[in-house]
């Protein structure tokens, strides 16, 4: 995967040199291991700071919202799907974008890795040839298999190759199919619980939430000028960390993502407490697929289910 970077730099420099774009959005090394940052390169010199490895989990579609420039953007499968969602929702125009497509080989789960090693991680080295990752810190050095360290959403991903792009950096990677991996095993597990167990499950899930809204800020879908949690007239939801308020926040935020969420994992990745926020959005994704035969961000030609009326919409719940 690290071999992609030369091609990303080459394309980015060419775009900037030819004046085809005003900037290219990519990744640079973060100040902490496994936390690569988004970077806006406005000239060829900036491009030299670009990196590509398995810590580029941030969803870059988040940074094109309502921009007026012509933008080159490095896009994994999920970023490209969120770009599609953005275009459909009129948050950016297709012709403003030059999409540099990166066939993704999955990102690593920083929360899981941090929990696996005895101390603070100081550096991470990736060996793409044998698929291992070496994690180093004070007094320890461990070599682990990348396949065991994937973000859960990446392990379950069906769209690793960009669905929309102007130029790929490499040949497509093999896609997983729903027959290989059971995407909704965890959702079904919750579905089979009793109401009391479900309630307790989500109480426990959100018990660590500190209401920092990192999940919302990292999410490319959360672009409202004023989020419902920040409104004060009326105040839709309490600002405390009372379990009712926390649950209301997560539940409503998830609902706002219904039929739009691409399961990019940005929310989970950004959470400082390691909460699996996807537990709610994955259920909505499953419902959309089952009831509306819809997966978000795959095509520019179809309107999302919450955007259209069909006489045959499933509505057994309305009495």
């Amino acid at each position: 995967m690290t071999t992609y970077i030369d091609k990303i730099k080459e394309i980015s420099k060419r775009l900037l040199r030819d004046g085809k774009v005003d900037m290219v959005i990519g990744f640079r090394k973060g100040s902490l291991p496994m936390m690569n940052q988004p970077m806006f390169a406005r000239n060829e010199g900036d491009v030299d700071s670009f990196v590509w490895d398995s810590s580029c989990g941030v969803n870059l579609a988040n940074y094109v919202t309502d921009r007026s420039e012509r933008i080159g953007i490095v896009a994994k499968g999920c970023d490209s799907r969120n770009l599609v969602v953005h275009i459909i929702e009129n948050k950016i125009k297709r012709d403003q974008l030059y999409i540099i497509g990166v066939p993704c080989t999955a990102m690593i789960d920083r929360h899981r890795i941090a929990a696996m090693v005895p101390g603070e991680i100081e550096s991470i080295e990736e060996n793409t040839a044998d698929g291992t990752i070496t994690v180093k810190g004070e007094g320890f050095s461990e070599t682990l298999n990348k396949a065991d360290l994937l973000q859960e959403n990446c392990a379950l991903c069906m769209h690793r190759n960009p669905v929309i792009q102007d130029e790929p950096v490499a040949d497509p990677v093999p896609e997983q199919s729903p027959d290989d991996v059971d995407r909704y095993a965890k959702v079904r597990e919750v579905e089979s619980m009793s109401p009391e167990e479900k309630w307790a499950y989500f109480d426990d899930l959100f018990s660590d939430c500190i209401r920092c809204y990192a999940c919302r800020n990292a999410c490319p879908l959360c672009y409202c000028p004023t989020c419902f949690v920040d409104e004060s007239k009326p105040q839709w939801v309490g600002k405390s960390i009372d379990p009712t308020d926390i649950r209301t926040f997560h539940f409503l935020r998830a609902y706002h993502c219904a039929g739009r969420c691409t399961d990019c994992g940005a929310c989970v990745r950004s959470c400082p407490m390691g909460i699996n926020v996807r537990a709610l959005t994955k259920k909505l994704e499953k419902d959309c697929l089952e009831q509306f035969d819809w997966e978000s961000g795959l095509t520019l030609d179809k309107r999302p289910p919450l955007d259209v009326f069909r006489p045959d919409d499933p509505e057994e719940f309305i009495k």
């Binding site: 109401p195 167990e197 309630w199 499950y201 009372d242 539940f251 719940f317 309305i318 009495k319």
Partner: protein
């Protein structure tokens, strides 16, 4: 909501036209009866008052 642990039957959706007053009465009665039957569940759906005033 049911996925999060709300019992089936606590949340109701109905489509009632402004001309359907009798349907409104029927539905309102049915909803209150069903929700009352489910009980208050130790007020877990209600926000607790702050412990420190």
């Amino acid at each position: 909501m049911e996925h999060m642990g709300l019992e089936p039957g606590r949340l109701h959706f109905s489509w009632i036209s402004s001309a359907e007053s009798t349907k409104f009465v029927d539905v309102a009665k049915k909803v209150t009866e069903e929700v009352k039957a489910l009980g208050s569940k130790d007020k877990k759906y209600v926000k607790s008052k702050p412990k420190v005033a």
